[in-house]
């Protein structure tokens, strides 16, 4: 991938998104924020995946990564849906949307 063609550009962009998303995934404590970050990382990965399949402008975009990405997007949605349900249920039960060990000032004592 010499030069800054479109595919490489978006692949780099994907790498950047992965970095940003991971930070959000690690640093945030609110479960919904983590979910947002998770989706950012996911789409970053898809971008890397898809962009790498679009390197050969002469051949057109590779359909295999596209199909895989669509599958991945659906899986990500499914995961998000389950997590959202978990978070909501947890908020109902525990009154918060963070894990106990992530509560400020909490030593993780049970």
């Amino acid at each position: 991938m010499t030069g800054l063609d479109t595919a490489t550009l978006f692949a780099w962009c994907g790498a950047g998104l992965i970095g940003i998303g991971l930070y959000g995934f690690l640093a945030n404590r609110h479960m919904l924020r983590r979910l947002v970050a998770f989706n950012v990382v996911g789409s970053g990965i898809f971008l890397v995946f898809g962009a790498s399949g679009a390197r050969r402008a002469d051949l057109g975009p590779d359909p295999v990564p596209q199909a895989l990405i669509i599958t991945g997007i659906v899986v990500a949605l499914a995961t998000t849906a389950l997590l959202v349900a978990l978070v909501i249920r947890y908020a109902d039960l525990a009154g918060r949307a963070t894990l106990p060990e992530d509560e400020p000032g909490d030593d993780g004592k049970e």
Partner: protein
């Protein structure tokens, strides 16, 4: 050249919005930024020539995920859940550092890729004829790698069961989600009456077109789900109880149909084998079934577990 500049700007924008979504002080703001981000990424996909993905990203990645998250934020607000304070700077620094390293590594890997690697584009093109469909992405999704898709649809089923099983025991047998009370004659109610026929049409088209053009069961199913949700929000329809036989049949129908075809394939040459002469019809049948189940499942996922008492 303008394309390149556009791409660069788009990339920067995507990164900026992503940052905003991650770092935003307000959770709701973050979610809104995330939806915007999803749309921008969909745009990027079109720039990469991947229209199917762009559709999926817009409908599912930005649309449905956004709806889920917005709904969740609303529920948490209603429940009075407070946001935690941000972590200490030291921890943040370490986390940030390691993320930068990771991104750098990925970047290095990208930089090291062979620019001329062709992937499977040519192989797909060669076999497109036998797949029974004209859209190579659909060919991969439903024929070449139909097994992935079969599992994927079942994943949706798993998640739906998982979401339902988060219901309170006393609400089992009730209807999913909270009862919607749209103002009669309000915007929502109006749209609720007006949009469904159009949406239905659009959804069916996207599914049907998917065999030869961008689109397919997932994208189409998402549109159908959105339509139903809108109608439900308008208070015009209500979800059937989770114990209802027809509801369960609906969510299972698609995957079951897919599986039936797959197993039937065994007698026609192998597991999931679609004989080229019938491939198109079979795929359309599967897509139709899947679209129905996907639509129902996605809508129910957004609605959440039953939160109302049984009749």
């Amino acid at each position: 050249m303008t394309g390149a500049i556009f791409d660069i700007v788009l990339c920067l924008l995507i990164l900026a919005v992503a940052l905003a979504a991650i770092l935003g002080r307000d959770l709701f703001g973050s979610v809104v930024f995330f939806i915007v981000y999803g749309l921008l990424v969909a745009l990027a996909w079109t720039r990469l020539g991947a229209v199917d993905v762009a559709l999926a990203e817009a409908a599912i990645g930005a649309g449905l995920t956004g709806v889920l998250l917005v709904g969740a934020v609303a529920r948490l607000r209603r429940g009075g859940v407070v946001e935690p304070t941000p972590p200490r700077p030291l921890a943040r620094g370490a986390q940030m550092g390691i993320c930068v390293l990771a991104a750098g590594l990925v970047g290095a890997a990208i930089a090291g890729l062979d620019p001329d690697a062709a992937g499977l584009t040519a192989t797909v093109a060669q076999n497109l004829e036998a797949s029974g469909v004209g859209n190579p992405v659909t060919a991969v999704l439903l024929n070449f790698r139909g097994y992935d898709t079969l599992l994927e649809t079942v994943v949706l089923l798993v998640v739906l069961i998982g979401v339902w099983s988060l219901a309170e025991d006393r609400y089992w047998g009730g209807r999913p989600g909270l009862r919607q009370h749209a103002k009669p004659g309000g915007v929502l109610a109006t749209y609720g009456r007006f949009l469904p026929p159009l949406g239905l049409l659009a959804g069916v088209y996207v599914v049907w077109a998917g065999t030869d053009q961008p689109g397919g069961a997932f994208q189409g199913g998402t549109i159908l789900a959105a339509v139903w949700l809108l109608v439900a929000m308008a208070g015009l329809v209500d979800a059937p109880p989770v114990t209802a036989r027809r509801l369960r049949l609906t969510i299972v129908a698609g995957p079951a149909l897919f599986l039936a075809v797959a197993v039937a394939g065994i007698f026609m040459g192998g597991f999931l084998h679609l004989p080229p002469e019938h491939a198109k019809q079979l795929i359309q049948t599967i897509e139709a079934g899947l679209a129905l189940s996907i639509a129902a499942t996605l809508a129910l996922l957004v609605a959440g577990p039953p939160q109302r008492g049984a009749r």
